[in-house]
């Protein structure tokens, strides 16, 4: 269902990001020379809170913070083309849903089609079709008339995910999307993501600070050290999804977990704080 048959790619070339210090003297380097090539699959960006992984994700989405050139140096290439502003290929999903509280589930999912950009590109009938299909895919068809305040956290995140999926993005950028959910709901949402991904494979970049989540979802796990962020480790997981609880307790998985934690400790001298969820 992708817009093009070509597999999409993201390339980061020697990315450095610096922010001016609050006191006005000098700069704070949050990302330090990251080079990375991502291809379709679920790519986990794992690192401690505040290590700059969201900053990297924003760069891929072309979303710029105000007043600071991003990246400070280096380039982000999407399909070999420099990415300098928000683009159609990638859609972001945030931890804080960003659902409009005054709109119903259905209206929230249809939100992108209010914008001139998408009205010019997607016909009304096509939009209608995609909305229906996506509502069903995330399991919200029965809740279409509800307001976000009437939904649980997990359902709200389904709305946010659906709003991204109606645009049929080739790249899905997820910024700790399930970080605010309870353990059980998080598990359900992970299953949903896997299901959606299997039906419509694309390039997912999934930021998390949860080691268990990274091992449950990732085709590839990229471990980032804390400020400034550097790549501490980068490996593939070949185990097919859905990954059973048995696999997650297997020697292979436990070794990966230990490896991640050891790498992080070495790279950030104990400053890192990661979550291993139950």
């Amino acid at each position: 269902m992708s817009a093009s048959a070509e597999p999409v790619s993201i390339e980061l070339k020697d990315i450095v990001q610096e922010y001016p210090n609050k006191d006005g003297n000098g700069v704070l380097r949050v990302v330090d020379g990251i080079s990375l090539t991502l291809s379709p699959g679920i790519n986990m960006l794992l690192g401690p809170s505040g290590c700059g992984k969201s900053t990297i994700l924003h760069m891929m989405g072309g979303v710029r913070p105000i007043g600071v050139p991003t990246p400070t140096s280096g380039t982000v290439l999407i399909d070999g083309k420099p990415c300098v502003e928000a683009h159609d290929d990638a859609v972001m999903v945030f931890q804080r849903y960003a659902n409009r509280p005054d709109l119903t589930v259905e209206q929230n999912v249809a939100f992108p089609f209010r914008l001139a950009h998408w009205r010019a590109r997607v016909s009304e009938a096509e939009a209608r079709r995609r909305i229906e299909e996506t509502l069903a895919a995330v399991g919200l068809a029965a809740h279409r008339k509800h307001l976000p305040s009437q939904l649980s956290g997990g359902q709200n995140q389904r709305v946010a995910l659906a709003r991204a999926l109606v645009l049929r993005p080739r790249i899905l950028l997820m910024d700790e999307p399930f970080g605010a959910l309870d353990a059980q709901t998080r598990g359900e949402m992970q299953q949903l993501l896997v299901q959606i991904y299997e039906q419509n494979p694309c390039l997912v970049v999934f930021v998390t600070h949860d080691v268990t989540e990274a091992l449950a979802l990732g085709d590839r796990v990229i471990v980032l050290s804390t400020q400034p962020a550097k790549i501490a480790d980068d490996f593939a997981i070949l185990e097919p999804r859905p990954r059973s609880a048995t696999w997650q307790r297997s020697t292979e998985a436990v070794r990966m977990e230990e490896r991640i934690l050891a790498q992080l400790h070495a790279a950030s001298a104990g400053r890192a704080s990661l979550r291993v969820s139950v």
Partner: protein, 269 residues
Amino acid sequence: MAETTSWNPYAPLSAQTTRTLGIGAVVAVLVLWALISATGLVSPNKLPAPWQVAKAFAYLAWDGENGRSLLLNATLWSVGRVVAAGALVVAIGIPIGVFMGASPKVNAALSPLVDPFRSAPVVALLPIMVMWFGIGEWMKVLFLFVGAVVYLIPMVRDAVRAVPQAYWISARDLGATPFEAVRHAVLPLAMPRIADAVIVGVSVMWTYITVAEYVNAREGLGQLIQNARRFSAMDQVFAGIIVIIAFALLSYQLMRYLKARMYPWETKL
């Protein structure tokens, strides 16, 4: 330890108790007022008795001799001025406030021109407004407008800025232009607080209406009070004040009700 309702801001209070306590307090003041008048402790020229005020109210409401209602006439004029000024405040103040909220540059330029007036005595501007706009209807409406708009603009600006940035970023990422992001993602979320600003603005106008109508008004509640004072008809002064308070309260409650109906999704703090 037993639950206490004193020194406990979170203690639930039934609607029944709330009503009883509220009405009780008003009745207590009325009784005290009646006692002071009945004992002749304070001269009726300074404090008319409740029944005198009631009589004055009845006279103002319907003057049988001349077959007219002074109160209805005055109220219509005052309400008309508040509505006219309110329309101006909404039509001019909200766009300015939204602009200031949506653009730090516009805010930096306009806030020194607007913010100081929030704490400045707007009443002191009255002589200037009389000089500029004369003593006619325009001056009264513009005075109400200025008095209210200096409260409204900063509130609208703050309402826009209080919307979490995540909504703007998310809309921009979905392909919204900066204008669309404000129009479709930020503004709808700011609406309940903008409605609060309008409510405050209208309440402020009710406090300024008497001042506006002190100057050369032939009609209006302020004029009615002013006129009664000139003839030392303290009972009519009291009746007039009570009507203004009643209208301010009524419009406040009505606007609160409308706001709750329009924005039922607003998260309760």
